[in-house]
Symmetry: C2
Subunit: 337 residues, 2 copies
């Protein structure tokens, strides 16, 4: 129907010709920059509509040197934890008129570094979620002219701004809670060794001694299957409570416990970390720590946005507070005696 098809996609030029104005005028109207008389503005708009014209974002990027795009690199798109963060970034940035590009490094530090560099070349800024790369690589990224932000990063000396959650405080709340209801011997099932998150959560185990709880650390992992497989070993130490790296692991443990006919919390108490959706609906509902995942993404975007706008941002790591959520998987230790 339209006469656009004949000459291929419409461009500033074709619109200018159709509207009887110069390309500069078309550019000004479409970009909303400069001042154009109402009458000509209308003519341009009409021609654009008629030709089905949309300015090419690519050409625009080349001309302006900016793409209004954020790149995000995550270690693993399978993890619900990460995509809550991604959603936070996506929505907050979309509200500012930015588009988000996501890439998955598949837990490979080398691939991560390559992706990061690559994506950064096509975007105005980069968010590295839970980076696996070592500090040298991170420092290299820092030397880029483009803003780079870490979320859940190593929390130290990388030079890049880093926003995380208070793993130490959150985990400590959990131990304190257990101590208060009489637990003295707990087993902590730790997460994947590569994860920075894991370090801080482990630290809390040492501090738990202050509350009089003795924590035995066992390696597990970060998945349901890992929890399931680690449960028997945990029981070997005769704990009154099992604390897990995250909710997924806790569900794996719960499953194994149920298989063996061990009651939660009557025989042993159980805690998770993250408060994923499911945790309120398991039987028993899981005591855990809520972590502001989507907010991590949105706040991260906002500081990144400030960096894009040229503001100086303090690279000191920041941490969002975690919140204890007590449900039914933890009970006082007397009841189990």
């Amino acid at each position: 129907m339209t006469d656009a098809d004949a000459t291929g996609p419409a461009t500033v030029r074709s619109v200018a010709r159709a509207a009887g104005v110069s390309v500069a005028t078309v550019s000004r109207v479409m970009a909303g920059t400069g001042v154009v008389s109402p009458e000509r503005t209308e003519r341009v708009l009409a021609a654009a509509r008629r030709l089905g014209y949309t300015p090419s974002p690519i050409a625009r990027s080349l001309a302006t040197g900016t793409s209004r795009r954020v790149a995000v690199v995550v270690p693993n798109l399978s993890n619900p934890y990460f995509y809550d963060i991604i959603r936070g970034i996506g929505r907050a940035s979309a509200a500012d008129g930015y588009t988000m590009t996501v890439a998955d490094s598949m837990e490979d530090a080398t691939a991560e570094a390559a992706l990061a560099t690559d994506m950064l070349a096509q975007a105005d800024a980069l968010v590295l979620v839970a980076p696996r790369a070592d500090r040298a690589v991170l420092r290299e990224l820092q030397r880029s002219r483009r803003p780079v932000l870490m979320l859940l990063g190593p929390r130290a000396e990388a030079g890049l701004p880093d926003l995380g959650v208070d793993n130490l405080g959150g985990m400590t709340m959990l131990y304190r809670h257990l101590a208060e209801i009489g637990h003295r011997r707990v087993v902590y099932l730790s997460g994947p060794p590569g994860a920075w998150q894991n370090r801080r959560r482990l630290e809390a185990a040492r501090r738990a001694e202050r509350f009089g709880v003795e924590v035995t650390v066992l390696e597990a992992g970060g998945t349901i299957a890992a929890g399931h497989d680690a449960a028997d070993a945990a029981l070997t130490h005769g704990p009154t409570a099992i604390a897990c790296f995250n909710d997924l692991v806790a569900f794996g443990v719960l499953n194994r416990l149920t298989e063996r006919g061990i009651g939660v919390p009557t025989d042993v108490s159980l805690t998770g970390f993250d408060d994923i959706d499911f945790s309120a609906y398991s039987s028993p509902a899981l005591t855990t720590v809520r972590t502001p995942r989507e907010r991590l993404g949105s706040e991260g975007w906002h500081t990144l946005r400030r960096m894009i706008d040229g503001e100086a941002v303090d690279p000191a790591p920041e941490e969002l507070a975690a919140e204890l959520v007590v449900r039914d998987s933890t009970g006082s230790v007397q009841a189990s005696a």
Copy 2:
């Protein structure tokens, strides 16, 4: 340290000058196109490395008219179901040297249409996952010069190639299974009315009569909370089994049933749909239908890739087979009498 900083980012030009060759040679070396003598190739590579040069993907896109980027629009980044699909697309396309851009329409059909058009302008192709837009919009998209593919689309007359899963067959397998173990009265908790998926799964309810099972349909939704809230109403109809739109809903029901002291499968059997990770680990483990989510993404990419390469693709809807997974949440009806 390097001498790149003084003149800003390196370009073909600066590298050409540093290597003592022409820009064309640099371009050929960097893009791996054309033939350049080994000696000069080395000189260019050395200069590029020294200046920290990386070709600008944006300029390259403008020059070639192709970006090697796929755009993906999903209704809701919160849904694990969609994430698996996205991961499938991401990995398959990455293997072909493409990057993926993801946008979230937040279940808004209008936003979806706008996003789709917008993203398509910045990519070589578009994947619409579970589109909410009506057929007119979809048909409009079809008129684009760029390849567009639907995943889990309306499965008819949209003109766009559409790849989905066999919802009807999968759901039917579930009813047949229930019939075989003696169930005659089942309640089906249906999903969100807007989802195309829901329609086909509903259809199966009518066909279930062939197996002698009478299905009462109740509206629920697609979340754990929806299942939890619909459970009481379902029980009202005195079913021996409750079939759910998806696994999430089933878990919500399971939770409510447990609260009320109703045994699964002793008092009532329960089925889900999707086979999400968790389903193997609930107590009891959930009988469900496995749907090849990641494969949906990867296969989708492969046909899209063929379209990008100019091959003609049959727009007839295709469906990937679903697979029945019998676990512990369904039992023979005699046992419950």
